[in-house]
């Protein structure tokens, strides 16, 4: 119950929708990509529009999570609140998890907003060959994004200047996760990296469910497993961060 109230508080009070950059990502960016899509469709009516509408939504969701979850832990250090939350009665893991869940929910909202834009403004019709599987894939995608948000929160708190690289990370990650080109079409050396990214699995699963080619639960399950693995990993890491902080009074070891 308290956990839900904490999540709700984060959603309402800590989601910074007055931040111009976030406004841009959430509300404007999908419009631009949808416009490109609109003209692509004009040129080539044969492309699978459903897949790309979701891709547009996922771009925005990912961009938001990259920045918002990435700063989840480090911003507490900057603001001098890190010690206060550490000294409180809620574990650091739970606080970061709440923030990551919150940001992923905004990401989901982003995807929904994109679909809404696509239907209302651009008049696209969206089809799925299996609604249940698409929704399941979407849920696993959100689960993956939460776990990825946790990883980002931890990484960004360890290295001082990760933010300089965040801009560089936006698109490579999306390409590697098979959002535009199927992972199997990527150069062979990149493919292992792709499958380490939790999103890859649920994106594949989502696309399969939309297009209606033979759906394999392998990817759905893979997405759940690899994301869960990241949860365990970040749990260990956050406990470590807490311990190191309590020993040295410093966050970040690099």
């Amino acid at each position: 119950m308290i956990a839900l109230r904490l999540l709700f508080f984060n959603l309402i009070k800590f989601t910074d929708l007055r931040n111009k950059f976030y406004q841009w990502i959430i509300f404007c960016q999908p419009l631009i990509f949808l416009t490109i899509l609109y003209f692509m469709l004009k040129v080539n009516p044969a492309i699978n529009i459903d897949k790309y509408i979701f891709a547009v939504g996922i771009i925005s969701a990912w961009s938001f999570i990259l920045y918002a979850s990435g700063t989840a832990l480090i911003s507490e250090k900057w603001g001098g609140t890190f010690e206060l939350i550490l000294g409180s009665n809620t574990s650091l893991f739970r606080i970061v998890l709440t923030k990551s869940v919150c940001n992923s929910l905004i990401g989901l909202l982003n995807i929904c907003l994109t679909i809404l834009y696509a239907q209302i403004i651009y008049g696209f019709e969206i089809h799925t060959s299996n609604l249940i599987l698409s929704i399941s894939s979407l849920i696993v995608l959100i689960y993956s994004l939460i776990s990825l948000g946790m990883v980002l929160a931890v990484l960004c708190s360890l290295f001082n200047n990760v933010f300089e690289y965040q801009n560089l990370m936006v698109f490579p990650f999306l390409i590697l996760s098979g959002l535009f080109i199927p992972v199997n079409d990527l150069p062979l050396i990149f493919q292992p990296i792709s499958y380490v990214i939790p999103m890859t699995w649920s994106i594949k699963s989502l696309y399969d469910s939309l297009i209606g080619i033979e759906f394999s639960y392998f990817y759905l399950l893979g997405g759940i497993l690899i994301s869960s693995f990241y949860f365990v990993l970040t749990y260990i890491f956050i406990s470590k961060i807490e311990l190191i902080f309590r020993k040295t009074n410093k966050i970040g070891v690099f």
């Binding site: 308290i2 109230r5 904490l6 508080f9 009070k13 800590f14 910074d16 603001g79 001098g80 609140t81 010690e83 206060l84 939350i85 550490l86 000294g87 409180s88 009665n89 809620t90 606080i95 311990l243 902080f245 309590r246 020993k247 040295t248 009074n249």
Partner: protein
């Protein structure tokens, strides 16, 4: 009454980098003290003495390199969860506040982190206690230092703590606001909350604290009531003399006169301050001084905590 805090041989060192080489820096050299329930206990000492380090260790934020600390009869290393639930702290200064939240929201957030349900009117009561009720729904981004520090005090009370740690709660505050903060702190102790306080203001420590420990370079120099600490330095009295025609060389040669300070004031007069052994009466001192100047006014004042402090850490 049993002790709510027991600190035994507390030792801590930090690892610092000097010219790229790792070095150990000792912050606490094995300190001992106990605090009783409901006491206001002051930690005084110069910059870098180890006050904040002590507070961070006692609030489970820092793991000491050596020594034992029990709070509420629980070991800080074995039961940090229990301790965190029952204590709270502020680390002084303006940081540690979420700019976009209002005071009410800020308190609500921490009530969630402490897993307690507090109705809004109770939160308002806390804000009233620190005089922020009128700003309850204002964004904290425009708050002054004093407002932020008072908000911290309200936050500190959110979980009904048995012990509160206040690290320099009046740092950077103007005299009026400082006085208000002191009033709030003295109210806490009336509620039987144990208060551990650090400050650089001796008068404040004297007014608020039941007992004081003076730390210097990681060691406790003295521990006791303010009266006791002052009494250990009552071998001298403090004189302030306004005079004219001062023979500066002559007065410096008097053996009994210690810590002499001379200041020129209006009309070419001099104001001299010094310490003189208590064994001499004011008449005797007057006679002695008269050899070197014409006394216009002579004042004698009692030892303050500041005098004792300066002697101890000099």
């Amino acid at each position: 009454m049993s002790s709510i805090i027991k600190v035994n041989n507390l030792y801590h060192e930090y690892t610092i980098k000097n010219n790229g080489k790792k070095e150990k820096k000792v912050a606490l050299k094995g300190i001992n003290f106990e605090v009783k329930q409901g006491e206001v206990f002051g930690l005084l000492g110069p910059n870098g003495a180890g006050k904040t380090t002590t507070i961070k260790i006692l609030t489970t934020l820092l793991i000491p390199k050596n020594g034992n600390v029990t709070l509420l009869d629980k070991d800080i290393l074995k039961s940090p969860g229990y301790i965190r639930k029952n204590i709270n702290f502020m680390l002084g200064g303006e940081r540690g506040i979420y700019n976009r939240l209002t005071p009410i929201e800020y308190l609500k957030y921490f009530s969630l982190l402490y897993k307690i349900k507090i109705p809004d009117n109770k939160l308002m009561e806390l804000l009233e206690l620190v005089g922020l009720e009128k700003n309850a729904n204002e964004e904290t981004i425009g708050f002054s230092k004093g407002m932020k520090q008072r908000l911290h005090i309200a936050r500190v009370l959110i979980n009904n703590p048995k012990i509160v740690f206040l690290d320099e709660p009046t740092i950077g505050l103007d005299p009026v606001i400082s006085e208000e903060v002191r009033l709030i702190i003295s109210r806490l102790s009336k509620k039987n909350i144990t208060v551990i306080l650090t400050t650089h203001y001796m008068q404040e420590a004297d007014d608020l604290c039941d007992r004081i420990a003076i730390i210097d370079e990681g060691e406790i120099k003295i521990i006791g009531t303010p009266t006791f600490i002052k009494s250990t330095h009552s071998d001298v009295k403090f004189y302030e003399v306004t005079c004219s025609n001062l023979d500066e060389v002559g007065i410096f040669s008097v053996e009994e006169i210690r810590n002499l300070a001379i200041k020129t004031i209006e009309g070419g007069l001099k104001l001299i301050r010094f310490e003189y052994p208590v064994t001499s009466t004011i008449k005797e001192v007057q006679k002695e001084i008269n050899q070197f100047c014409s006394i216009i006014k002579i004042n004698i004042r009692d030892v303050t905590l500041e005098d004792a402090y300066i002697k101890l850490v000099r």
